[in-house]
């Protein structure tokens, strides 16, 4: 009898041990899964022609990752960022994203920086039905109409035309109204789109086009171009250029005395700290597109904290010191992806895309809502004018007043100085 009871007790104890072990093991597995990171992958221009923007963009996303992980991650899981250098070479993009998806098994991808590097990602995203956040691409989805593509550049629903709308509206408002315009841009993806949009706006606003030329991106001397434009004496000069050509055009304009009534438009690079500090007073009077300026009208929740952290890291990394151009938008792109994962409580590509499409997001660059083509539902490309720049000290660009927001009206922080020559005095 005692032997039988002892036997039953032993069997019962064994069953308890086994059940307990299974429960604990299960819990252990559950704990391990909960700790598995959510992986977000991207290719980014860390070397090559666009790396001056690519590196700060990646840095901004790393700041977001650190911010999110400090707050407990997404869906209770930490976030891991996997990035590869696309070398500013579109040919590397398919390989990088295939590796991210097949080998690294990332849950989501974000695009690299710029129109040229987003273009080769589009077919991959469409084939695999990925939700994709685009980092400053101009009109990448106009042909594809892919519903799960979302683009953080505030170009607006008609990216080509919206890009320069503010510049043309400002020009048309001036008194006396300028009549003639010169369009000039590099033979490259972005400037071609920008100039194409500008041509439509020339017709819409009734200006007369007196010069419409492009130049090779490797051009060294821009004085012949500036001189040719000066010869036709336009009231407006609209330039769509990349950083080296922007610097070349501004310097050449100063050297040959090119002084239209309004000068600028689509020059990439004038937003960069090193370019601003090098050109100094030569910037005065230029009206150019921008995405952010340290004006009171642009102080969105969280942006100052972001810049404090970014500028600390940028100094060590040797990238754009102020980071007002691309970094807050790169942060916001991945911030929206994170908010959508949390909001939809899902890692399913379609559910996350649906959530992004149907919600407005509060980000460090303000409220963002996407339209049907994945662009911002309402354009918010700023037109700023450089005013009162003295010398080359970087500190002057940290505060308001040097890059005055002229457009759109709801973010306006000052008035245009017209004509261009008046701002240079």
């Amino acid at each position: 009898m005692n032997t039988l009871r002892i036997g039953r007790l032993v069997v019962g104890a064994l069953v308890c041990v086994v059940v307990g072990a299974v429960v604990l093991a299960g819990a252990g597995v559950f704990v391990a899964r909960a700790a598995d990171p959510i992986k977000i992958g991207l290719g980014m221009a860390l070397t090559g022609g666009l790396s001056a923007n690519g590196k700060p963009a990646l840095m901004a996303m790393q700041i977001w990752k650190d911010d999110v992980n400090k707050k407990g991650g997404l869906l209770g899981r930490p976030v891991e960022l996997i990035a590869y250098d696309d070398q500013t070479n579109a040919a590397t993009v398919p390989g990088i994203y295939t590796k991210l998806l097949e080998v690294d098994k990332v849950h989501f991808v974000v695009s690299g920086y710029g129109t040229n590097l987003i273009a080769p990602l589009m077919p991959i995203a469409m084939e695999r039905k990925l939700t994709i956040m685009g980092i400053l691409g101009l009109a990448n989805n106009e042909k594809y109409k892919y519903p799960n593509y979302f683009q953080i550049q505030p170009s607006g629903p008609d990216p080509e035309a919206n890009w320069a709308t503010g510049f043309f509206e400002l020009a048309a408002r001036q008194n006396p109204k300028p009549q003639t315009i010169a369009l000039v841009g590099a033979d490259a993806e972005y400037p071609r789109h920008a100039i194409a949009g500008a041509r439509e706006l020339v017709k819409k606003f009734g200006f007369k086009n007196v010069y419409d030329k492009s130049y090779p991106p490797s051009t060294v001397d821009y004085t012949p171009i500036a001189r040719a434009i000066k010869a036709v004496n336009p009231d407006i000069v609209f330039v769509a250029s990349y950083p080296p050509d922007s610097v070349g055009m501004v310097r050449a304009a100063a050297e040959v005395g090119l002084q239209p009534k309004i000068f600028g438009g689509g020059m990439v690079g004038l937003q960069f700290t090193t370019v601003m500090t090098s050109l100094g007073p030569m910037l005065n009077g230029i009206v150019n597109y921008d995405f952010w300026a340290p004006e009171k009208t642009m102080m969105f929740p969280g942006i100052q904290e972001f810049f404090t952290e970014y500028q600390k890291r940028a100094k060590e990394a040797g990238v754009d010191t102020l980071g007002y151009y691309l970094p807050p938008y790169a942060y916001s792109a991945i911030q929206i992806l994170g908010l959508a994962i949390e909001g939809s409580k899902s890692l399913d590509q379609q559910k996350v895309a649906d959530y992004i499409r149907s919600n407005e997001f509060s980000t460090i660059v303000g409220k963002v809502r996407f339209g049907a083509n994945g662009e911002w539902a309402k354009s918010r490309v700023l037109q700023v004018q450089y005013q009162g720049v003295k010398g080359t000290d970087v500190e002057q660009f940290r505060g308001p007043g040097k890059k005055v927001v002229l457009y759109p009206d709801e973010f306006k922080s000052g008035n245009i100085i017209y004509p261009y020559s008046a701002a240079q005095k």
Binding site: S214, T219, A231, T274
Partner: protein
Amino acid sequence: MFSWDLLANAIVAGILLGGFYAAVSLGVSLTFGLLDVVNIAHPAFVILGAYVAYTMNSSFGLDPILTGVLFTPLFYAVGAGVYRIYYSSFERRGEESLRGLVFFFGLLFIIEVALSLKYGVDYRMVEAAYIGKSIDLGGVGIAFRLLVPCAVGLAMTLALYLFLSRTFYGRAVMGVSQDQVALRLMGANPVRIKTIAFGIGIAAASLSGALLITISPVVPSTDRDYIGRVFAITVLGGLGSIGGTLVASIILGVAESLMATLFGPSWSLAVSFGILLLALAVRPAGLFGR
């Protein structure tokens, strides 16, 4: 749109640009044209020189071109060292054709990546009193930012021409390009002569880098824009001809400038390389090649 005023300005701007192109191409003319070493890394040394000028300018306010001149001995030593490695690893073994090319490609990427790591990838520019200013001579505007590099480029060309034609070592460099055995019989060591010539080529590259950053901003990858251009100028001028390099540079500079001013800048590079093809069809050895 045509006017004589525009034409004169375009020609002057082209000559100024040509003077700068000559400075960038002289080193290639020496190493590729005379020594038969396909130094693809030449533009990387140009950018390295530009970054040295940037560092001295931003840290100590030193004039970029003065920095370029002061650092030529250092770059000469670097160039001599590079050639010694190239010689002992490839040329001596007769493996210079393909492996040597890979060596210089590797060197180009190492320099580019090292600059990226050290300086980051932000655009770098220099400040100097003459940047952004110009003078007007009878309706012809001359930008000092281009005039100074052109003047330095012409001085470099003259100095190299005099070195090659008037000095013992210069003549030896010319000799090594023609007949190394004969040179040995004259008691000169071809490897030593080539080391000197290669060092001068790299020193010239570094100085032209200082000129480049005076004209436009640079990033570590700017070197890629110049690979095709410098070799095209060297071939058009005639391999090993210093005067030919200057003439070819000015032809390409004036062609680019005229196209940009009068017909539209998008054609400027196509016309420049069209001139190269045409010239090679008529004179396969280049304008002044033997």
